[in-house]
């Protein structure tokens, strides 16, 4: 149970009040995707969702994506050695996880369009795409 101002973005509630720090701050204006979490099954930018808008909906962060860090995407990320600095990667994984929930077999173009909102300054885009394709190949459509 935490108390927060109602306009406090979900990002800071997660990070500062609850202590779930896998969700990262990148821009504060929904331009970079580092703070991506799931609101029910949809990817949202937690920096731009006031906590008052969450209501009774279910929030999933990277910490809750899988019990042992072994979601198919997390494993695929490891297989393709995706991360460099790693800072944006939890947001990338959460965005990709929402994509695969709604579209288990995305095309390369669908992956690119969906992941366009997630910046990676290290430039790991091609490995991210490869990892999403690997994870999706193990999922039933």
């Amino acid at each position: 149970m935490v108390e927060a101002l109602e306009d406090m973005p979900l990002l800071w509630v997660l990070r500062d009040l609850i202590g779930l720090k896998g969700t990262k701050f990148g821009c504060g204006v929904a331009q970079c995707g580092a703070c991506t979490v799931h609101l029910n099954d949809t990817a949202v930018r937690s920096c731009s969702v006031p906590v008052s808008a969450v209501g009774e909906n279910k929030i999933t962060t990277i910490e809750g994506l899988s019990e042992h860090g072994d979601h198919p995407l997390q494993l695929a990320w490891q297989k393709h050695l995706v991360p460099q600095c790693g800072y944006c990667q939890t947001g990338q994984i959460m965005n990709a996880a929402a994509l695969l929930k709604s579209n288990p077999k995305p095309s390369e173009d669908e992956i690119e369009q969906t992941m366009a909102g997630n910046l990676c300054r290290c430039g790991t885009y091609n490995r991210i795409k490869a990892a999403i394709l690997t994870a999706s190949s193990g999922l039933k459509s």
Binding site: L5, M8, P9, W12, R15, D16, L17, K21, G22, T23, K24, F25, G26, C27, G28, V29, Q31, C32, A34, T61, I62, E63, G69, Q74, W77, Q78, L81, V82, P83, Q84, C85, G86, Y87, C88, Q89, T90, I93, I111, E112, Q113, M115, A116, G117, N118, L119, C120, R121, C122, G123, T124, Y125, N126, R127, I128, K129
Partner: protein, 763 residues
């Protein structure tokens, strides 16, 4: 557990780079408690008799505990380049350690213990590969000596594997832990007696090793600067003067203080001018219970500034003025060969072009942030810093503490690219923590980062190339103007410094009879710093796109042209032609790291072969080529583009060939090149910072764009030259040749030359 320590007198054996350290040293170094033995490696030099010169200066630590744990200290900062993995694996390989069980401990900033920790300049591997190997090899030799004695067999029959000594003929094995205590009693072998593995014996060097932080990163458990926390920590967000060199006149904070959670509002006196490479800007800090309250409070501050002398700075105006300057007359000569005036007078054809590139921000995905606790005359910092020692020194200076009373802990860095080698944000945290007595985390927002970076400075260049009656490139005249990094520390500096000129300007390697490189005045009215590959970016953009034009004018293929211009196999020294000073060669003696045209030609030939250079492409497609040596690593690049009817550029293929000497971690070399291409694609296609009225006009990733997945280069192929030469770095070298190769590809596809970055700004 018994701990065997070694008195320092014994450790300081002459002519030996590897030494044994005391337990106390290791405690300070890594906070590890277990017993065993500890090795350090120092880089101090010895005189001819083998006597050590200079102070006792250990550099790295390796520890083997009585229970067989191998602990390796990572003393360089991890920001995505993989160094926390790549240097420890070198130790582990030589030692024969079980990699899966090696513990890696991040070092705090301490120059006396670790030597240079400033993680920039692509030199971690270059500088520390050999000492790391020696540390591992010495430990292995000592462990083998103990085991061989115990078994009563010759040491030559023993080897190490999976953290055990094995007797090859009898297949007997003893774990390192059982040997560590006795090994600790043995003297360290002299440098000449250290036996390093042959290449064929390597188990990890030259292969692909995944980074040690990988599972922590994918599960969200990795600790970056932003994740550091202590009990009772408060968050500070700062409103900084929008113009560099300004100061706070007054401020009103009623609205700020009305925000629940806001605790204090504190003025920060900035460095003024010069802005310096390590001190904060003037500002007003809002300290709050949480980040959101601090941000809200900051946004409601009303500050009256004295904007100072840079309040009229207009970067587009500066570009216009510099265009006149560089194309209008003589500058300060920096390199001279032959007689360019005569080459020009006798030219059959003269090509003259002006090249423009904008200011750039680093925009690390993790904005700058630092946590400081000041208590009882001691300051402890946790920060995403590339330069913990520099941070420690300046924090000590600003707080008035002895340097021993400042401890800087290094977290993972969410990107660095040169930004986080500047400790201004760490000093902010330390100052506020001292003033308030509270543990303070300073958090920069993205807007703060875009507005107040140490920018990669804009540049304007003018190149004149002359072709003689025999169709030879007879003269090369390169005029250069940009705000110098040096001016951030000394506002009287008006021209590029020698270090900047080394980065792809005076080290023009082509065998042209007349070469004249000149610089012109450019005032610095912003904080200028270094960004991944620094001045190589604009200087090679101008050189390699001009060479493409010269090749065309001479009726030659650009790749054949480059090979021809490099001339016969030779080592270039540059010194005799540099007008003032000597060629710095990235800090290395040019006798040890020569500029070898043979190696450059080899990467060019390799990239041409791998990329299918020369093949006919459909309309709207093109291949472009550029090659460049930077940070002592040779790189050639071919980019393929397609340009549609609307002018939209796609990049389906990139090929790189690289000679970085011995390849240590193949996967991280490839990933640095993949990322280098994307980093360069950002500034080639998208990014630009502009100043108006002394203020940055962009605010966030909407105004300051970096490349996104749909527009990013698709297939990036990295071809590594097989080599046993000394290893050199790969963090920066992928960046410089990409943009000119892309621009040359755009020309091949469209017939339009690019003279200004980003490409979208060309008419």
């Amino acid at each position: 557990m018994k701990y065997l320590a070694f008195p320092k007198k014994k450790q300081q054996r002459v002519a030996s780079e590897v030494f044994k350290a005391t337990r106390r040293d290791f405690l300070k170094a890594g906070g590890m408690l277990a017993g065993g033995f500890v090795l350090g490696v120092s880089l101090f030099s010895c005189d001819n008799k083998g006597n050590k010169k200079g102070p006792f200066a250990p550099n790295v630590y390796l520890k083997i505990s009585d229970s067989g744990e191998v602990i390796i200290i990572a003393h360089r900062s991890e920001m995505g380049q993989g160094i926390r993995t790549s240097l420890p694996l070198v130790v582990a390989d030589e030692l024969g350690a079980d990699w899966g069980k090696v513990q890696i401990v991040q070092a705090e900033g301490d120059e006396k213990k670790y030597g240079n920790q400033n993680t920039d300049g692509s030199f971690s591997i270059r500088m520390f590969y050999k000492p790391m190997r020696e540390a591992g090899a010495v430990a292995k030799q000592l462990l083998i000596q103990v085991a061989a004695k115990r078994w009563d067999v010759p040491v030559s029959e023993c080897d190490t594997e999976s953290s055990q000594v094995i007797h090859k003929t009898s297949a007997r094995k003893i774990g390192f832990g059982e040997l560590a205590g006795e090994a600790a009693e043995l003297p360290v072998p002299a440098a000449k007696d250290i036996k390093l593995k042959s290449r064929a014996q390597f188990s990890m060097i030259g292969k692909a090793t995944s980074i040690i932080d990988l599972p922590a990163i994918t599960s969200g458990q990795a600790v970056f600067g932003i994740d550091a926390a202590v009990e009772g920590m408060k968050v500070a967000v700062i409103k900084r003067c929008p113009v560099v060199g300004g100061s706070v006149k007054s401020f009103t904070d009623e609205k700020t203080r009305a925000i629940p959670g806001v605790l204090q509002v504190v003025s920060i006196k900035g460095a003024g001018l010069p802005a310096t490479l390590n001190k904060p800007l003037a500002g007003v800090a809002v300290i709050a219970e949480n980040t959101w309250a601090a941000i809200k409070g900051r946004d409601l501050l009303e500050v009256t500034w004295d904007l100072g002398p840079n309040a009229s700075y207009d970067s587009n105006q500066q570009i216009k003025e510099l265009v006149q300057k560089v194309s209008g007359g003589e500058g300060t000569p920096r390199r001279n060969r032959g007689d360019f005036k005569s080459a020009r007078a006798n030219a059959r054809k003269t090509i003259e072009r002006t090249y423009i590139a904008p200011h750039l921000a680093h925009a690390t995905m993790e904005p700058p942030c630092a946590l400081a606790v000041v208590k009882d005359g001691f300051c402890e910092i946790w920060a995403c810093t590339q330069n913990p020692q520099g941070a420690r020194d300046v924090v000590a200076e600003v707080l008035g503490f002895p340097v021993e009373k400042v401890k800087v802990n290094v977290t993972l860095l969410g990107g660095g690219f040169g930004r986080k080698s500047k400790p201004d944000f760490i000093v902010e945290a330390a100052m506020l923590a001292k003033q308030t007595g509270l543990p303070i985390k300073v958090q920069w927002t993205r807007e703060d980062d875009i507005h107040h970076d140490y920018f990669h400075a804009l540049s304007v260049q003018h190149v004149v190339a002359t072709i003689d009656k025999d169709n030879k490139l007879s003269g090369w005249n390169h005029h250069i103007a940009y705000p110098s990094i040096s001016a951030t520390s000394d506002i009287s500096v008006m021209q590029p410094d020698d270090g900047e000129m080394m980065l792809g300007a005076v080290d023009f390697p082509y065998d042209v009879p007349a070469i004249r490189i000149e610089t012109h005045d450019a005032k610095t009215q912003l904080r200028v710093g270094w960004l991944r590959s620094v001045r190589n970016i604009p200087q090679v953009f101008a050189i390699a796109t001009m060479l493409d034009e010269v090749a065309e004018a001479r009726g030659m293929d650009p790749v054949a042209h480059a090979l021809d211009l490099l001339g016969p196999d030779r080592n270039i020294t540059f010194n005799e032609e540099i007008v003032k000073g000597t060629y710095p060669n990235y800090g290395e003696d040019i006798a040890n790291y020569p500029w070898e045209t043979r190696r450059m030609k080899a990467v060019i030939e390799r990239v041409a072969k791998e990329s299918g250079w020369g093949k006919k492409l459909p309309k709207g497609s093109g291949l472009g080529f550029a090659a460049h040596k930077s940070f002592l690593t040779y790189v050639a690049c071919v980019v393929r583009v397609t340009v549609d009817a609307s002018g939209k550029i796609s990049i389906p293929h990139v090929h790189y060939a690289v000679d970085c000497g011995t390849a240590v971690n193949i996967d991280r070399i490839k990933s640095q090149f993949e990322g280098g291409a994307q980093f360069a694609a950002s500034f080639a296609l998208k990014s630009a910072i502009t100043f108006k009225n002394g203020r940055v006009e962009q605010n966030n990733f909407d105004g300051y764009e970096i490349i996104r997945m749909p527009d990013s280069p698709k297939e990036i192929h990295v071809h590594i030259i097989d080599s046993e030469d000394k290893p050199t770095g790969v963090g920066e070298p992928p960046v410089p040749p990409f943009a000119p190769a892309l621009c040359n590809a755009v020309y091949a596809a469209t017939g339009k030359r690019v003279y200004q970055l980003p490409i979208r700004l060309n008419g």
